[in-house]
Amino acid sequence: MASAITTLAADAPTLSAANTGFMLICSALVMLMTPGLAFFYGGMVRVKSSLNMLMMSFISLGIVTILWVLYGFSLAFGTDTGSLIGWNSDYVGLSGIGLTELWDGYTIPVYVFAVFQLMFAVITPALISGALADRVKFSAWALFSALWVTVVYFPVAHWVWGAGGWLFELGVIDFAGGTAVHINAGAAALGVILVIGKRVGFKKDPMRPHSLPLVMLGAGLLWFGWFGFNAGSWLGNDDGVGAVMFVNTQVATAAAMLAWLGYEKLRHGSFTTLGAASGAVAGLVAITPAGGSVSPLGAIAVGAIAGVLCAMAVGLKYKFGYDDSLDVVGVHLVGGIAGSLLVGFFATGGVQSDAKGLFYGGGLEQLGKQAIGVFSVLAYSLVVSAIMAFLLDKTIGMRVAEDVEVSGIDQVEHAETAYDFSGAGGGISARTTTAPASAAASKKVDA
């Protein structure tokens, strides 16, 4: 996140209608990423558990929104205590904030900043769910995500972006969330799957995506929403940094998609749809921390490197035998690490901050700071998430019964199925399915 905007004017900042409008639109764009992610993940699972996958992302819009308003914003962005956590009673319930009260030296209202950051908090736990596909009780997932944002996300967001947070003070560059969002979610995913174990039939049964068109739709929505995620992270557009971020987001994503496809063609012989979608997401992840500090050419390098690294990394689960169902570790953790560390090489010192990377005469200093940011968040999130999953597993149980997993989680957990395959015009099923009570009642009246 941006440090204070350098203003030449000595005057205190005043509310900017342009920046406020821009940030409200950016917030709405980031909101769209969560349903986009739901489709990205939902298309990748088998038919029988596709609704559950959509719901695991979508529910975050409900749970995290409420927690954010109640206490999340206060914990993440309230007044610092010990560089570890924030608190501000005015932010509790968002109740003590004036309509035109400005956010910490910026030109936008506190409400706008709060709602922009809310969307980040919503998508982060949703990212984790991709690793848990097909096998987790919906109630356990809902409880896990509520606990996780409280104990992991809100504090880590404070460390990285909050005034006084220890990584922020150290000078770690995490422009739009490579560390706080992607490494955080990827490490949590790894922690949870190490506890809950593999899907039934992992490495034996084919678990092909049921709808690659949905995956492409989701990846497209993510890409679109990501402009809000990244370009909005400067919290205004008075000096063009947001615009550079927009450009970098586009070029890094393009480069990563091409790099993933190239790797795939050489390694496996085909340019796949899933590869194009995955490469784009890998590029978006990698440019998120880096985009505010690199040039567009640097962004191409960041995207291309991340595209190849992530394409290589998704195979690790077969090698090491952990079941990261939809490659949250391979794409978000590895992509986030790549982007965060590459800041230490490609930062030009001329955009968001003065810090220069190794290739621009900055030495190893920034790289060292980036590494501290990466590995501290990785370790904290991995350990705490694993402990949380372990405790939930021992109490309410994290996984559905084996027969439920095999027959499909949708019907048992949600009393719905994604598609009607009854065929023959639906004639057979219409006669054998019990009509809803209301329909039966109205028939009686007609008779």
């Binding site: 084919p206 795939e264 390694r267 394409a311 998704v314 195979g315």
Partner: protein, 112 residues
């Protein structure tokens, strides 16, 4: 009477229908089928993970004919379905005890 069943490549359906029509067949039943022969299926790749898809989509065509026409009809289907590439399918016939036209109750050859 004989029931002739042909499992063939889906895109050959139109050609076979034409050939059967020219031969004088009045009706047939077509259904989607899947399976494999000696060539097995194909391979798909998702993020580097290869999946072998055994079952290949096919079309099943069923025709009822009188005994003396059966052999000739099989030849008609075979020549229309042949591409000389692997996976062209199979055609076989089995004896049928009785046939009834549901609408009229006609039996045997009259029901065809």
């Amino acid at each position: 009477m004989k029931l002739i069943t042909a499992i063939v490549k889906p895109y050959k359906l139109d050609e076979i229908k034409e050939a059967l029509h020219s031969f004088g067949v009045q009706g047939l039943t077509v259904s989607e089928a899947s399976g494999y022969g000696r060539q097995r299926g194909h391979t798909e790749v998702y993020r580097g993970a290869e999946y072998t898809v055994d079952l290949v989509p096919k079309i099943r065509i069923e025709v009822l004919v009188e005994d003396e026409e059966a052999e000739e009809l099989i030849s008609v289907i075979v020549s229309a379905a042949r591409t000389e590439k692997i996976g062209d399918g199979k055609v076989w016939s089995v004896p049928v005890d009785s046939v009834v036209r549901v609408r009229t109750g006609e039996r045997g050859a009259d029901a065809l």
